[in-house]
Symmetry: D2
Subunit: 389 residues, 4 copies
């Protein structure tokens, strides 16, 4: 007989579009797990039009939203990042009080995920963290490891992340190398990678509409929290390089991180100053479509974690620019360069000459979501821990 | 020539009475340092009457208050702890924005100190942490180590704390074993430990007024965050033991932590149920007076960190009850017992028979405040770090 | 056939114990109305132990709580009142966003009810206000009339209140003199007014336990927001008068308003300074029991609105002290005095000599709750209005 | 002898660019008044780049900023308006606590000005309100009159506003028809109205650069809070009309009000769908420059209050569209039309044929700022009031 009352309630808080695509297969696996009940909370930029309104995709994908939390304070400066987190704590604590989850799950290391971690841990709700133990070197670095210290379970994405979480004094019995659920999505898409949509008509955007059949590059570059004053210069170097390249370019607008104003202004100014006959600019794209766009591209240019993670599994060539992905494990597909248009252009040309790259399973092989759901159903519930040394 | 414009601005946020007494000698040393300017921010329970109104002592001690932040949400439950932290972030980020400190300093591991740590680190202000690296085992454990991961400088109180912060992946060049500034205070008081005040008339309180010349014990027991439902039972075991002891008892009301309602109710009920002819109950006491009270007592009973720390230096006998001070380094003065009136009574009698205990410098020797001020004046300013492994 | 989907959703926000008893019959009528669905939100001091935990009574009374909102900031000062309101807006807007009510109903004029009014009106949700149009003269005065200007429907308690709301420029079609629902409760109790409980054993409290059969007076005095520094003096005058009276006194602790610390301190100090052989102090009492206590008493002394409102209907003698109820309509039962022990004592003796007073229907005759529910089911939904002049 | 300690501290909170230009002459008069000290607090959209960063103009104009408060929650929906106000209260109460002003002054009726009014009135700080008593008919209507009921002094802009505030039950001794300080600014500019700047080079913007010497119209249209779903349709009717007009058009982007997304999207879509050879789009403009632009234009089209107020004084022809300025006093310069491109076009042509309009002093004659400063220096300080009926 069905006993729904005994299902563990798993509350997942999604605060941004990329976090949703990263965790989506885990959400599906939790939703479908006979012993789990999914409580999906959507917050921060995942609710906002100008950051892609991820909540709409969740609803399209068949998820029920348990609560919405608007907490993004305007400013795109560092004060706003702190305040957004403070408001998030105020609101999420009420949400958790009402939903009474058995476990709260938080994803990765965006600044506002700290609100989830603090609310849950302060309320003695067992806290699970996906993608701890990685190294990057910006404010995410502080946030990620602090969340590890607040978390009771760790679902890490690679062996080096596993080792690092153990070194941070976490009980090895609470650390699990599940691989990254974003790889699950990439694996699904990879089995059927043909374009099944027309990017321009489906996603609009501005700029010319270069012919994609002749090969194209994708540009996605976000501001770096610790280098916000340089964000405009950084995007300009990239745009200069791809302009000189003179091949079709599909360029995406940046995330909502501190410094995004600089990146956006840089893009706008570059558009006004130059005649860009083979550039198109997208605001955002559904994750599956974005992966198909990458698989069919000549490569990705910028500093998105997709280049490090999904593209390793898919074997998509990547020119990774600057410090944002510092110290993350690399597959065989990445050439690292600094914020210098000449270096960037040279790396693109090197990839272009070689054509393709080997694939790698360093971030998992495609079943992370189900592994996470199974663990959430089976781990002992606890919210009390002591450092191991 | 005096060049005040070049002084480093050191913003210290004090959120509770015990934190103030713990850090006081560092505040004085910062205030008096020729290259530093002190910005003292007072927040949370340090502003509230029913938690001893620490702000008044600061003003009496000659400190200027740069900003006051009221952020304690009522409830004394775990939701309120989260919300208090959220409001703290909202407010402190504005305060930091206005004060523009060069370094923010946060003290120890109370839940609301996380607000200081998040606001400063998210705003790219170098963050110094006093008393990281210790082990206790309650929610403070999570908070303390998470703050370590958000902090840029670590002023730890003992060798074992030093080792632990290094193991947490912090750069050894940013970790300093300064000893605990609360020991400085104890050292000062110890050189002139005679009673120079009359506790009953100076601090009021309720209950009988036993003759202190014949020897007395001090009771200070706080709720344990992870055991809040047991807080009433826990205090009752202690009160039962000291009632049977039948010696003069000076008992303090608990901190504002989650569970304080249980402790307070336990004390009130015990008072109404029993005829307590040699008990007096104090709400709070100035730190120096409290130390004199301890030095002249037969010992301290409960779970206050003063028993572990200052009493180690002073050689005051301590019966430490339960899990709150678990894993903290012990001097020679502590007998650990569980929440059991028989065990508690036996430990008291053992101390009573022996009479006195050896002193220990494990938490420093009396100059931590000046060491901290000197470091704040000399460390390289930075807010960017990477884990060491 | 029943079509529950068409039921209007009526969201009522209760922020304090007295507001609950005031509105209780309307809540019951909404809950039982075939065309309405009640969404009961409990916030602020209605959730807190030390203000009587009204939420527990609601649950006992069979109401389902749709959401709880902890928003009382500690301090009991004026800054805290503002902040409590700010937090209330942050939280209630999320609650309203999730509950999607057709009408929000707010009660009376406590400072934090402004949070309900602002959240609803800013979110274009039709707002109904119970007990607008009255005059008192403290901060409530500003709050009450400001809420009238934010509200779309007005359920007022008396003819003079009706006239005042019209004068404030509200459309007469949106103003309804329903009488006060608190009178409904008094009417119910009055039909069966015999003591069916023993106050001391049921409600505990401290002090002696005078014999109630010989006649007794009830004292309930709250701080006045605009006179907070005088709150201790004010209660002392009252206590002095009733001490001299030398008859049994049942005294209640004050509300959580700014100044409550002064009132509480005054009570505590008076208790310690005097031997009070016929005083008992209650923290709080269920509304029905409190009404029975009043009906069987010799009269009420203090500044509670119950004295003005329910006691008018019941004919209970009242000595009303000071400015808190200034300008509210009076029945035949009130003698107004200033904060002067002699005046207070003289008024008590005058009532005592006379024995009883006439009843009055100025605040309604006992069916306000049902009238309000019927109006909520029938008024045209609107959130847009223009001043009538 | 100078006695600065006796100066009254006047705290003015500015939350938006238009409020700054409206109150600027009063700020100057307060700053220069020998008995007043100005405490200028800048909050909300006045701090944000994408709403014109009014704070920069204040600094350029020589004002010192006493505190900055970031409180705009993202979303541009109605929930965000409520939350922005809640955060504003949290923050402003701390600011007022630290600045200890003698009087707080709030401007007009934007939703977030309620935060200023609540914080000040709840903290018993005398509150002055500029521009109460007007009638418009949207959410501003509720906000404006609610703020009147929270305020202690009223500096109104016209005779009809004066009468209305009195009818609202305010003490006539606290109501002053000062005229509107925005007229002072217009009077100053009018005495030297020649173009002393080149709009395109000074303010950038996008679109073509029509020759202004041949006559041009200015378009400024904001969303209406109670009609947010229609905001895109509304701007489209206007753009259609002025497109057909086929004369040079200088068009401004909308305010940050709820619905602004619709207006902005409407403008963007119209630009993409049409070849606009004589349209230029500005983000914002300094107030003096904007007035010069109006004085030299053929007229203003849209729903800005500048059309009703400054343009009455200046005699600039205005086509006022829709309900946003409903019921505000009109000079001789306004033709009111509905959201219909034909009506709009007809009204423009009527103005174009007539050429110029009479001036009017209904909103004051040019000395409101000084009158307000003098009143702030002389009114009796009070924060307690009672309705007059």
């Amino acid at each position: 007989m069905n006993k729904p009352m005994n299902k563990r309630k798993i509350c997942v808080v999604i605060t941004a579009r990329p976090s949703y695509s990263r965790i989506k297969t885990a959400l599906t696996a939790i939703k479908n797990h006979p012993e789990l009940e999914l409580q999906l909370v959507v917050a921060a930029s995942a609710l906002l039009d100008r950051y892609g309104n991820a909540v709409n995709y969740m609803i399209q994908d068949g998820f029920v939203i348990a609560a919405k939390v608007f907490n993004v304070l305007e400013g795109e400066n560092l004060t706003a990042a702190a305040k957004t987190t403070g408001i998030g704590i105020l609101e999420l604590s009420t949400v958790f009080d009402n939903l009474s989850p058995d476990i709260v799950l938080t994803v990765a290391d965006r600044f506002e995920t700290m609100a989830t971690a603090i609310s849950a841990s302060y309320m003695n709700i067992p806290l699970a963290h996906v993608q701890g133990g990685e190294v990057t070197g910006n404010i995410d670095e502080k946030v990620r490891h602090a969340i590890t210290k607040l978390s009771d379970y760790h679902f890490v994405a690679s062996k080096s992340a596993y080792d690092r979480v153990i070194k941070l004094g976490e009980d090895p019995e609470a650390v699990f190398n599940t691989g990254c659920p974003s790889i699950d999505l990439a694996a699904n898409v990879n089995t059927n990678s043909a374009f099944n949509f027309e990017p321009y008509s489906k996603y609009g955007g501005v700029g010319s509409r270069p012919d994609l059949d002749k090969g194209y590059w994708v540009v996605m570059q976000h501001p770096v929290t610790t280098e916000i004053k340089a964000s405009r210069m950084q995007i300009e170097q990239t745009l200069k390089a791809v302009h000189e390249l003179n091949q079709p370019i599909l360029c995406f607008w940046p995330n909502v991180d501190a410094g995004a104003d600089g990146t956006s202004t840089g893009i706008r100014a570059f558009r006004e100053m130059n005649s860009l006959h083979n550039f198109h600019f997208f605001k955002n794209m559904e994750p599956d479509d974005f992966l198909r766009l990458l698989i069919n591209s000549k490569g990705l240019i910028g500093n998105s974690s997709v280049g490090i993670r999904e593209c390793a599994f898919l074997g998509v060539p990547v020119v990774n620019i600057g410090s944002r992905q510092n110290s993350r494990d690399r597959g065989h597909n990445v050439i690292d360069v600094s914020y210098d248009s000449n270096e960037i252009l040279a790396a693109i040309k090197k990839h272009d000459a070689k054509g393709t790259t080997e694939t790698s399973n360093i971030y998992g092989g495609g079943s992370a979501g189900e592994t996470i759901a199974d663990l959430l159903a089976s781990v002992a519930l606890k919210f009390h821990k002591t450092i191991t040394y």
